[in-house]
Structure formats: C-alpha cells, structure tokens
Amino acid sequence: MSLDAVTLAVLKGRLEQIADEMDATLYRSAFNPIIAEARDACHGLYQAETGATLVQGTKGLPIFVGAMSFAVQAVIKRVQAGAGLEPGDTFIFNDPYEGGTHLNDFRLVRPVFRSGKLFCWLASVGHWLDIGGNVPGNYNPRATESHQEGVRFPPVKLFRAGVIQQDILDILAANSRVPQSNWGDLNGQLNALDLGERRLLELLDDTGDDVVEAAFGALADRAAALMQAEVEALPDGHYAFEDYLDNDGVVDERLTIALDMTVQGGRMTLDFSRSSAACLGPINISYATSVAACYVALKHAFPDVPANAGVLRPIDFVIPDNSLLAVGPPRPVAGYTETILRLIGVIFGALGKAMPDRATAAPFGTINALSLSGQKQDGTRWVMFSFFGGGLGGNPETDGLHHANNPISTATIPPAEIMEAAYPVMFTQWALRPDSGGAGLHRGGVGAVYEIEALSPGTTEVALLGERGRYAPFGVTGGSEGALNRFTWQDGTGWQTPPMASKIVGVKLQKGQRLRLESPGGGGWGDPKQRAREDVARDLRLGFVTAEVAKREYGYEA
C-alpha cells in the first residue's frame, strides 16, 4: 500500500504526538528527579518482528533514541526462546548488555495486538535512582564486575495477560535502597504505556491498521533517504580522529577511542577497531550503546533527520567484540556516559574534518556523577545524587553555550534550593568558570564552579565519577582546547585532589568542610587571533577570560 505525501506527513505528526505524550506523562508522574527534572527517559513505537525504531518522542533523552530498539530486540529474542507472548503482557528488564546503557535504566516493553496478531511494540525506559550495588546511585567508579554495580534483570514478564506479577515487584523492592521511589517511577512508566496504547488504538481505529503500517515503512524510507543525502553531501574520503579517557577508575591508564570514518559511494563506515580493549573498571559500553551513541552524534550533526531506524541504513559499523566499545557480561558499565560522550566527540571531530564549514568543537564531555551521602539523625540514609553542567563547543554560527547539558541528555539541573531543602548541604558557589571555554574565533562556552559545604553533623561520604581530568575538550579549525575538569575537597590538612583525576570513592567530609567541582568548557572554533577585538574585550570585562589568557590566546592587551 502506498501513501500520498500529505497522509504520510499527517500520520508522522500523529505518531510523534503519541510518543511525546508518553514522555510528558512519565516526566510529570515520576518520583525521582533524574526522570522528573532531568528527563532521563524515553518512549517509542517499535517494529513487531525486528524491534526497529518506528517512532520516538521528540523530547526523550537522546541516547535512548538509539538504544531502545536493542531493548525491544532483546524481548523479541526472549519471546522466541520460549517465554511466549499474549495480549496484556509487559516485560521489564535492565540488562545493559542486551538493551544498552547501564543498570539504572529500567525498560518496560509491551506488545500491541490487533485482531489477535502482534502489530508493534511500545516501550518505556527510565533511570531509577538506586538498584543496589556497592555505591548508592550505582555510579561505582571502582567496580570491576557488573554484580558490584547493582542487580541485573533479564527480560521477565511484569504482567502476564494483564495480571501484575507480585513476586517480581517483591524482588525489585528488596534490591534497592529506595524501593518507594522505584515503585513510583514504575507506576509512572506504566501510566505512559497505558496512555500510549490507548492513543495508538484510537489512531488505528481512525485510520486503519494497513495505513499506519504503510506509514511506518514509508517514514523509515524517508529518514534513510534524508540521511543518505547528508552522507552523499560529504566528500568521499577517510577521516580519522581519536580522543582519550583519563582512566577506568581502577587502572590508571588512558583509554583510546579511535575512529576511522570512511565515506564512499554514499555510505559511511564508522570503524572503531583502533580503540582500546575492554577495561577492568566501569567505563566499558556494550555494542548496543555504541551504536546508540553514533546515532546521537549523527542526529546532532544533522538535526533535520527524523528519529527512526531508517537513519542508520546508510551507515556501517565496525566495533570489534570485547573491545571497550562492545563488552559482554560481567564487564562493568555504570560509567557508560563518559565513554559515549567521548565517542560522540570523536564523531564530531571526524565529521569536522569531512565538512570543516560545519565543524563543531567538543562539548565539555563529562557528566560528573557526584554523590554525597550520610546518615540522618534517625539512622536512615540520605543520598544526594546529581549530574553537573559544562560548556558547549564553539561552532560556525555562535560561541558555545555556557553551562549546558551534555549532547546525550536534555536534562535540567536540580535547583540548589531543592537540593539544600532535601539534603544537609550548602552551596557556597554556583558560578560560571573563567578561562574554561576554549579560545577561538567563536569561543567555547564556559563550564561551572560548584562548591558545596557539608552541613551534616556526621560524616558526609562523597563519590565522583567524572572525566576530562587529563584530556581536555578539543577545539576545531584552529580553536583551542577547553579547560580540564577539576575536583578538589578539604580535609583537616587542606585541599586534596584525587589520584585518578576525576574518579574517586570514599572521600569523607566533616561538617564545615567543602568540595569543589570545576567543569570543563567547550573547545573553541576558529583562530582566536581572528576573534573580534570587542568580543575579547567583552569577555575580559565580564570575566569569562582573564587578562593573561586574553593576551596569550587572543593576542589581546587592554
């Protein structure tokens, strides 16, 4: 069945609206701030036989847009392996090796049946606050096995023919420090699935199953054609780029992510063979995660390409098994965010070589997962967990944005007042960081300085999983690097720095002692010497650059 152009465009809007509405429902009803405020969640519709992404929300967390299809494929495998499938079933799981990302991301996958036949899948994913493991919040920078990171669920049926399985709920509750929060989030995800199912059935009744099915196919074809057009616009050639991770938190050796991008005859090959082997610490990623990260990078570079599986048709991947970028169990993966941020940066770097007029300098490139925890007076535990911002890269159009979120995320940061109201901490600084944006004709956006004082009468324990402590965000087309990430804290003797750059556990603060996190800015774009003098003067006046850097990088003297 072929559809006319207007019907197709109309259906595209209707379908995206369903996924958007699922996203919005979960954001509003979720319990933990990582979903509710940081929007670490995603929803979509997936193809019945292959699990390929059909439609995804426009607001969902970018990294999931690529990863969810792997999650649905994992469920399909499970069904075929004997789990069976009937209307009213809903699977739940968090296995990162099959579904991508890390253990905190719980996926719910539900079949939609029409006339007794599987029509497509609906899926929901959200980041739960805590699922056991050695470190509250599960960002354990010292983990050497998945089992130390938290509990792992393979795809199991949470609902069987519409009946919720209490034993699964009981197991979930027993394996978290914050079972109520997880239960709230689970309900939010179920709200989203219920709503998505209702909306989709309405649309099918309105429009006809065959029309919607034809639209799925046609939309993927269009996305493939758009991506194809972008690839064909690149000059054929080989573009290599590499960047580094500080270490894996366990062994203090740098890790390489090396890309050989080949553009040839309208196809793009992303070959990561020269990258490091799997590491001992938790910054490995699975194959699914790697592909999802490539997708995020391409979608940022070509924002008009729609979010469905068609996008990846003109792309070939070479990601060797058991490399840093394609691990299996039980390699630890909790810090996957750091690795994919570097991978995305590497793609920006290679694309910048292929199309210098559209090159974007590296964004700050670390999520800085910081957890502070301690005991309340009544003996219960408090855990404050958040990710922090930094600068984006300079680009052909503008300076980089100050204090933004990472490309894998659309998360907003929880307000200092919300954190202070909930936990015994006081922010003593929440500010932009001078000299952190890479110099350039278009400067990188600056990062931030967050300084926190412990107010708890007992000990406040601190853990950080961050990156860019040794390898700074790169500039492009003559721009300079952004500043390194920097983490310091006070003990009785003065300010301390972590031996492994930006990864540490077991820091103990006493009441009145502070920690300080200074995030990187983005890299610069273009030759700093060419930056308009009034713009340098303005940066100097506003304190985004100091006189010394103005002179050294920009050749500017007031």
Partner: protein, 688 residues
C-alpha cells in the same frame, strides 16, 4: 465600591504588532463601537490615542482597559532597561546558567544573552539556609555600597535576589530597605515580593525580568496617562495581566512581568464569554498569526492557567498565565519538500515582511497564505488590512508549483491543497494537545478563532479533531479588545509552604490562607473598578513525598467569618481527585506533601450583555449576498456562494461551499458544513 457604576463608556484597547483594535461599550445605551487603527511600533501611544479620538474620547469615558505587548516585545528584542542585580555571594551567575538546558534537543549550536550582563550582577555576603535559619546576616552598608556601584555603572533598575529567600525573607527585606533608601527611582524588584517560591533560577528570572521591564512599562504608562489627561480623560485606566484579569496601572508598574501575555489573555477572556453566552461552556481558542498558531483551552467557562511560561530561550516567567500552546504554523509559514521527499509547512516563516509570495514583496517561497489564495479561499482582489491593493495569485501559484508541486509530482492546485491539508493537520495536532491529551472530550468543545486568519481553517479543524462545532465571533479581529472590557479584576499570590499532609496543623494553615486572601483582596479592592463581588480561590501545589513535580489541587473552601474551615480530610479528598484525573494511578500509603499555596482574588465585573453584538434587525439574507466565486475543495473547483458576513441576519443558514467576508476576516465553510448566525451575531459552523 462594589456594584457602583457611573454608566459612562468603557473602552478596551488592544495594541498588536500591526493594528490597534478598540472596542467601546456604552452600558447606559447598551451599544458598542469598534475601531481599528495602525499601530506605531516603538511609540504605541500614538495609535492608542488616535484610536480613542476616533471613538470620540477619551474625555467622558468611564474606564479604559488596555492589553499591551510592550513588555513582551521588550523581552524578545532585549530592549528593557540597564539592569543591576544584587545577589548572594557565589550566585551571581544563576541567571546566565539557567537550568543547564540548551535551545534544541538536537543540534548544539546557539548561545544565550541574559537580560543583564555579568558585570552588572554583584554579590553581597549574606546567606539563609533552606530551613530559614540566617547563616550570615546581610550588612546594610555593604548592600548600599553595591547599589551605588550599580548606579555608577548605569543601572536604571535593581533586582534583589537572595538564595532561600522564599524560606526567610529577612535578609532580602533588609537589603531592599537599604537599596530603596538610595535608589533614585521606584524600580526595585525583590524576589521574595515577586515570587516567594522555591527554585532559585525561576525566582531569579522572574524577578530580573520584572525589574528589566519596570522602567520601560512605567515610561509607557506614564506617556499614556499624560496623553489621556491632556485629552481630558478623568476615568480609570487599567491593564490586562497574563492571567486574564485586570490590574491597576500602579500594580502594573510594580509587577510589569505580569503583562507578558496581556493581549492574548484578553482575547481568551472574551472568547470564553462569547462561547458561554452562545451556549458553549467549553471552547478552544485559535489564533492564526503570521508565524504561529496559538491555541488555548476554556473549560467550563474558565481559561486554563499555566504556572510559568518561557518567553524566549532562558527567559522564564513564573506567574500564573494563560496557557497558550504555540506551533510554528502561521499564514507566513513556508512550505517545502525536504530531502527525504516529505512535505513540510513551517516552522520557517516569511512573516509579514517580506510575507507570502502573493504580497509581491520579494519572497519567492510559497506559504500557507499563498495556498489559500491559489485555492480561491482568500479574495485576491480585497486583501485584509487594506495595505495591499491586490494579491498576486499567479506568482503564488508558480511558487507552489515549483517548490511543492514538482518535487511531489502534483499540479499547482493539488500542491496548494496539500499545503492546506498539512497545515490543518498541524493545527489539529495543537488542538489535540490541549484537549484530548489533557483528558477532555473534543465533542464537548467548539473551536473559536480570533484574529484574522483562524476562520479560514476552522471548518477543517472541527472535522479533523472531532470537535462539536466552530464558533466565529462577530468581530474576530477585535476579540482581545472586547476581552479588555469584560475581564475581571484579578490578583494571584503564591507562597511555598513545604508541609506534610498527615497530621497537618489545619488551624495554622487556615490562618495562613486567610492572611493570603486578605492581602490578595486588598489589591483587587485597590484597583477601584466596579465589581459585583470578590471571589477568593485557593489552590495547593501537592505531590507524593519524593516527587518533584506537583499537581494543582483546587481547595473547595471559602473565607467565612475569618476562617476557611480547611481540614486534612478536605485536602486529601481534593488531592486524590486531582491526582487521579492527571495520572489515573493513586499511590495509597505514600505520604502526601503540600508544596505551595496559591491564592487568587477575583473581582467579578458586572455582566456585559453580548446581545449588543447582535446583527441589525433589518438585515436580510438577500442583502448579504455577494455573488459566487470559484473555490477549490477536495480536488475540484466548486462554485461557492460569497456573503457579506456582517449583513446576514440572525438565524441565517449558509450551506457550504461558501465564503463569508468581512473587513478583518474571511470565513470558509467547507462543502459538507453549514453555518448559522446566532442571536449574538456569531457564526456557528457544524456538520450538515
């Protein structure tokens, strides 16, 4: 002053980007007049006064109520004052750091310009903790010194924004006193006065934007007031707020940030009243402009309010505002076929300059308006607004053929129809977003277009979404001005409470609610407009402990003899009802928390009888006929009857296909629809 009326004319004035619309209602005679004059961008007072003079005023008018976009424009164009900020040590960058967001989900380019730069944001040593404890007391001398420094750097207004001031405003109050003692003008905004609510960025942004607008709005109002008094005006002059209520100019000077959506809010107020009079409690208003399509929901006669709005990336105003959902599909939206072969309409727009291809002002890419012209839906010989003599149909047709027809393998007419269909679908999506997605049944709603363009598409929209009918008001172009005349007086307040519901001290909460009600009522009474009564509405922002988002829970209590009679049980019942409506699943057993108390005082204005808008008694169907025109529907030319809309009598039935024309709007009645003129002069369009 309740119930007191003098009986002189009340005039609503809505100053838009292109036109200033006026609506005069004379309560003594039960008559009205409308007027439309060009706006004068940059000096809005000129159009404002010339419109009033055309209406024979302003001397002798009892009241003038004004919907204004001066504040919004100043924000969008960054043309507010030079603003100084005084804030807590360590926090001067809050305004520029935002909530660590970015412009677009996909694509990392673009930067952000805050309303005031870093060297105009100075810090003082002071600190309040989250529980309200004063950690470091503020020093008045230090604040005064910093304020002098800001003045020396050219500050025209000052915003004082301290961390945790929602929990204890003592430091902020002391600082405000120190600044006000030396500040040379009244433009000092204090965060605990503007928005005593948790979340530092939202509070900082709202307060800073307020101060940024204070001199601009004060000077604008001053100019209007002196022009009015020169012309002998001795009545009351009021401003419409974003919440759809009106306020005194004194209040507008101190909280100009509340004018951000003044004009659209007035339009929705009028729409609600018009729909209600016509027998429809539920309406969806549609405003099709040059670049966007804005919809708002009126449910059971009330407009929906949002807790905050983003005026532009990073410019957040948190204050109850009419909830407007905007999509990038307006008359100027450009149609093209993307490289994947998919037709797109918008979000890129030709705006009003150069405007659509048919304007002949240099744009060569086809727009939605071009499609409407080519299909014969818009009269090319009689363009709305009167600025152009005629529209270039052939130019529009050629552009559509080239940019849409050829790539899709359609002829120009098919392509034009495709553009209109896709635009209709996008508009229908916006309507679905505010209705179906919020749990409303579309069959209970009418679409109510205001502004000039919406009536072209409204018929298709009712079919697409399954709405009950469309209601085209008699004067779509002056809806906002009518809203100025009938809007209630209103004042909203919010206060963060952070309380557990279990075992709540209901007596203490009651005292708090009565205090808030008294303060809000005083503002409404102080506005000095005749009202028949003042209502107080309470709403609590609540959630289950652990959630961060809240649900707005209307609390069904009233202040009687100094008490609200609020109880834990009343609140619990109200919360569960609101939560169930929002999310379907309650979470029994989890503790429930009250985050904030919202109090609204509403001074209800005397009823305005919309029968005044009824068509003249001597109107006849024959007298309204204007012949026929060829209009393209569903793949073929149809002979459509053309009518002079305002000349149709009450009860007239117009079967589609038909075109109804009036000075500022064109109504399209599709072939399978029928339109009827009701007793208020509205056109009700339904399925045959």
């Amino acid at each position: 002053m309740s119930g007191e009326t003098k009986g002189g004319p009340i005039v609503g004035v809505d100053v838009g980007g292109t036109f200033t619309d006026l609506f005069l209602f004379d309560p003594a005679k039960g008559t009205f007049r409308t007027e439309k004059v060009p706006s004068n961008r940059g000096d809005e007072a000129v159009g404002f006064m010339s419109g009033l003079r055309k209406l024979g005023g302003p001397a002798g008018f009892e009241a003038i109520v004004h919907g204004t976009t001066v504040g919004t424009n100043a924000l969008l164009e960054r043309k507010g004052c030079k603003l100084g900020i005084i804030t807590t040590a360590g926090f001067r960058d809050v305004l520029e750091m935002r909530r660590r967001d970015r412009r677009h989900t996909w694509g990392l380019w673009g930067d952000f310009l805050p309303v005031t730069e870093r060297d105009m944001r100075l810090e003082v040593a002071e600190r309040v903790l989250a529980d309200g404890t004063i950690h470091t007391a503020v020093q008045a001398e230090e604040v005064a010194a910093v304020a002098r420094e800001l003045l020396a750097r050219g500050a025209e207004a000052c915003a004082i924004i301290f961390i945790n001031s929602y929990a204890n405003a003592a430091n902020e109050r002391a600082a405000a006193a120190a600044v006000r003692a030396i500040w040379p003008n009244p433009h000092v905004s204090v965060s605990s006065e503007i928005l005593p609510e948790i979340r530092e960025f939202e509070r900082a942004s709202t307060t800073a934007l307020n101060a940024y607008l204070q001199p601009v709005v004060a000077s604008y109002l001053g100019k209007l007031e002196s022009a009015l008094s020169e012309d002998g005006f001795g009545g009351r002059f009021h401003i419409v707020q974003s919440n759809g209520g009106i306020m005194s100019t004194a209040t507008a000077r101190s909280v100009p940030v509340r004018t951000a959506l003044s004009g659209p809010a007035a339009g929705v107020i009028a729409a609600a009243a018009i729909a209600k009079a016509a027998g429809f409690e539920n309406a969806i208003t549609c405003d099709l402009g040059g670049t966007s399509f804005d919809v708002s929901l009126v449910s059971r006669g009330r407009m929906e309010l949002a807790a905050q709005a983003t005026i532009d990336f990073g410019l957040v105003i948190r204050s109850p505002m009419i909830e407007i959902t905007t999509i990038g599909a307006g008359g100027g939206s450009i149609a093209h076929v993307d490289r994947g072969g998919l037709l797109q309409v918008g979000p890129e727009s030709a705006g009003s300059r150069p405007g659509p291809v048919c304007y002949g002002q240099g744009n060569t890419r086809p727009t939605l308006t071009d499609a409407n012209v080519v299909l014969g839906r818009i009269n090319a010989d009689r363009p709305i607004g009167g600025a152009l003599a005629r529209l270039d149909v052939e130019g529009a047709k050629a552009a559509i053929a080239e940019h849409v027809g050829n790539p899709l393998g359609l002829d120009a007419m098919q392509a034009a129809e495709a553009i209109v269909r896709l635009a209709n679908a996008k508009m229908a999506g916006a309507i679905r977003l505010v209705s179906i997605e919020r749990g409303h049944d579309p069959q209970k709603f009418v679409a109510l277009p205001f502004g000039g363009g919406g009536a072209l598409h409204v018929g298709a929209l009712i079919k697409e979404v399954g709405l009950r009918a469309a209601l085209v008001p008699r004067f779509p172009g002056v809806t906002s001005a009518i809203g100025c005349v009938i809007a209630d007086v209103r004042h909203d307040q919010v206060r963060t409470l952070n309380l557990n519901l279990d075992g709540i001290d209901a007596a203490a909460l009651d005292t708090r609610m009565v205090e808030e009600a008294t303060a809000a009522r005083a503002v409404v009474d102080g506005a000095g407009l005749p009202v028949t009564r003042t209502e107080i509405r309470f709403e609590l922002d609540m959630h289950y402990a652990g959630q961060t988002h809240t649900v707005g829970v209307p609390i069904p209590v009233h202040v009687i003899d100094g008490t609200t009679g609020v109880s834990e049980a009343i609140i619990r019942t109200a919360f569960e009802a609101a939560y169930q409506t929002a999310f379907s699943r309650l979470l029994p057993g989890l503790p429930i928390r009250i985050v904030s108390l919202r109090t609204a005082a509403i001074g209800v204005r005397p009823d305005f009888d919309l029968k005044a808008l009824a068509p003249p008694k001597d109107a006849t169907v024959e007298g309204a006929a204007r012949g026929v025109r060829q209009v393209w529907f569903d793949g073929a030319w149809h002979t459509a009857q053309v009518w002079s809309r305002l000349d149709l009598p009450e009860g007239a039935l117009v079967h589609g296909p038909a075109i109804l024309e009036q000075g500022d709007a064109t109504v399209v009645v599709d072939p399978d629809l029928v339109a009827r003129v009701d007793g208020y002069g509205n056109l009700i369009i339904e399925r045959e």
